[in-house]
Subunit: 356 residues, 2 copies
């Protein structure tokens, strides 16, 4: 159970983190129903949610007789810090947006479209009410901003804990399409990605650096935003499904690691093209130079952009938003499934191969 | 946001609670995939889950074109203690069972039947692997033991945190039935309950007492089990829906509090019958006497039995499992909706009314 980023030991927060105990109303000042009364008006509504909050369960349309479902948790000091090394403070809005984004991405990765979220928010009593209002605003902004207005929050759960933890379960529809699995890649397919690679990882490196936010360029600040409020390409999943994608998944743990999972599920080798990877690393080089590191590890190891990794039959025109980054090859008997870069096993490829 | 039980300040656990750092393999010793390989064989499968773990989302049948969904979190030191005052240690099995029970109950309360769970488990690295295996066993045992074998775990998420937290989202079907809401109670209806009242609260009181487990009678030990592994009446919800229940909810926060919610949603008064309540308190009296307290507060305020509170049109035969405990009355203009006992506002009824 390796931790998600940040991978280093987090700053330990006390039960009432400093950031959370400043002079402002906290959730301890309100009853659950008072808090819900502040949250509900900040949520959008959608026709898919046939019965929203207020009963023991919500009811959501599942028009093709099937429903997609996934669940993800973000935990303070594991998946985000309330205050980063560079001074940036994670807002409730950030956490709400990211919760929406990473869950909507899971449905996108199947070729589906999300129809509703149910949200469990656990937090210390010293959490400011404003943080919770911002969280609700961020959830809604993420849903709308990422282009899924037919999705809305159908219900939830509030509780206390020593740290902030947000768990979202997302429900979605395939609208009659066949789901695209990780296991369908075939030798000869084209490997392609949609969305960005490495931007969220670059943003994380900036957050953990000593370069304060005010010293960042607009472009560097945008990298930080990619970590805090990712922009998964939510139109690309259903489009890929309709275009005949043979396999697909979202890149949440990094191209090499997730590519290895897709390769294992399909029992194939994914061979990435070094030049194509380089094209993703190039725009990150100013930030890498600022921090004195290479940009390629962000491209290969960074996941939280929530881009899509997909395979398509050779010869078809890739759907809008996808660019080719390699090919699928058959497993050679002496080797198992896995990921290669320019024909070499990825774990033997040093980062120097891609440095200037 | 009042805490669930236990309501008193919990024992603070360190990052690696003593119970969790004994000489045994911990989750820090395993990769996520190794841990999943231990969990999966312990889970049941069901025909409702069309696509299980392994992709970015699962796919579940929703044969009537709608899906019920709810989410609930249990957090260490808020919803359970790893070690209680009386020496009882909460097992992974307990937490797994209870996670299943309280989520299955939410679907039951709508008149539906659960078809799948998705489970997010957050835990400190020092958590024993055995605890996680027990958790998976408890989930499965709860699903099967509570009589919902067509439900299974469709997917999940593992992560690190400073405390154990389990969030389960449950998906269910109404099989074409109309959902039973909290808002449908009408003056003249009969108020009825299914399942037990106060047993889990009695169990909680025993756990927080100085009476060690070994000094408990079998019956008292069974009360403790009601807190740790509740037995919601999962056949009763769909049966109530088919029998014409006008309103329903599960009693997760206590009869008076949840009754007040149903009364408010329906804009009526629920008038409970003192004799009927007494019948629920009577079997709890030996445990109450052991602790030197009254049993009626457990009946009126205890919730974690996850029984059902429902209203039915007067004159119909109550479905199996339900017993009448009162009647629905119209709101009198000078008073709002609410709960009464024998015609008196419940908050003015002292517990002494029900003591021997």
């Amino acid at each position: 159970m390796p931790p998600k980023q940040p991978s280093e030991a987090p700053k330990q927060s006390s039960e009432a983190p400093k950031q959370l105990s400043e002079d402002c109303p906290t959730v301890a000042d309100l009853s659950e129903s008072e808090l819900l009364a502040l949250i509900f008006p900040r949520l959008n509504s959608s026709p898919s949610v046939l019965l929203g909050p207020g009963d023991d369960a919500a009811m959501v349309a599942a028009t093709d007789g099937r429903t997609l479902i996934s669940i993800d948790t973000q935990t303070q000091d594991q998946d985000f810090r309330l205050e980063w090394n560079n001074g940036y403070r994670t807002t409730g809005y950030d956490v709400g947006w990211k919760s929406a984004a990473q869950n909507l991405s899971d449905i996108n990765a199947m070729g589906g479209t999300a129809t509703s979220l149910v949200v469990s928010l656990t937090m210390p009593p010293a959490t400011p009410v404003q943080w919770v209002e911002d969280f609700a605003d961020g959830l809604t902004a993420g849903i709308i901003g990422l282009g899924v207005p037919d999705c809305s929050v159908a219900g939830g759960d509030l509780g206390r804990g020593r740290e902030i933890a947000v768990t979202v379960a997302v429900v979605g529809t395939l609208a009659g399409q066949t789901p695209v699995l990780r296991s369908g890649a075939r030798p000869g397919d084209v490997v392609a990605v949609a969305g960005t690679l490495g931007r969220a990882a670059a943003g994380l490196a900036l957050l953990e650096s000593d370069v304060t936010v005010t010293d960042l360029s607009d472009e560097q600040r945008a990298l930080l935003d990619s970590q805090c409020r990712p922009l998964p390409p939510l139109a690309a999943g259903p489009l890929a499904a309709r275009s005949g994608a043979t396999a697909m998944m979202d890149i949440s743990d990094g191209l090499l690691r997730d590519g290895g999972r897709l390769a294992a599920a399909s029992d194939v080798i994914l061979d990435f093209d070094a030049v194509a990877l380089k094209a993703h690393a190039l725009p990150l080089e100013p930030a890498a130079a600022l921090l004195g590191v290479d940009s390629m590890p962000w491209v290969l190891g960074g996941g939280e952009d929530h881009g899509l990794l997909a395979t398509f039959p050779a010869g078809i025109q890739l759907p809008q938003g996808f660019t080719a980054i390699g090919s699928v090859q058959a497993v050679v008997q002496s080797h198992g499934s896995g990921v290669r870069i320019a024909g070499q096993a990825a774990d033997t490829v040093g980062w120097d191969h891609f440095a200037d």
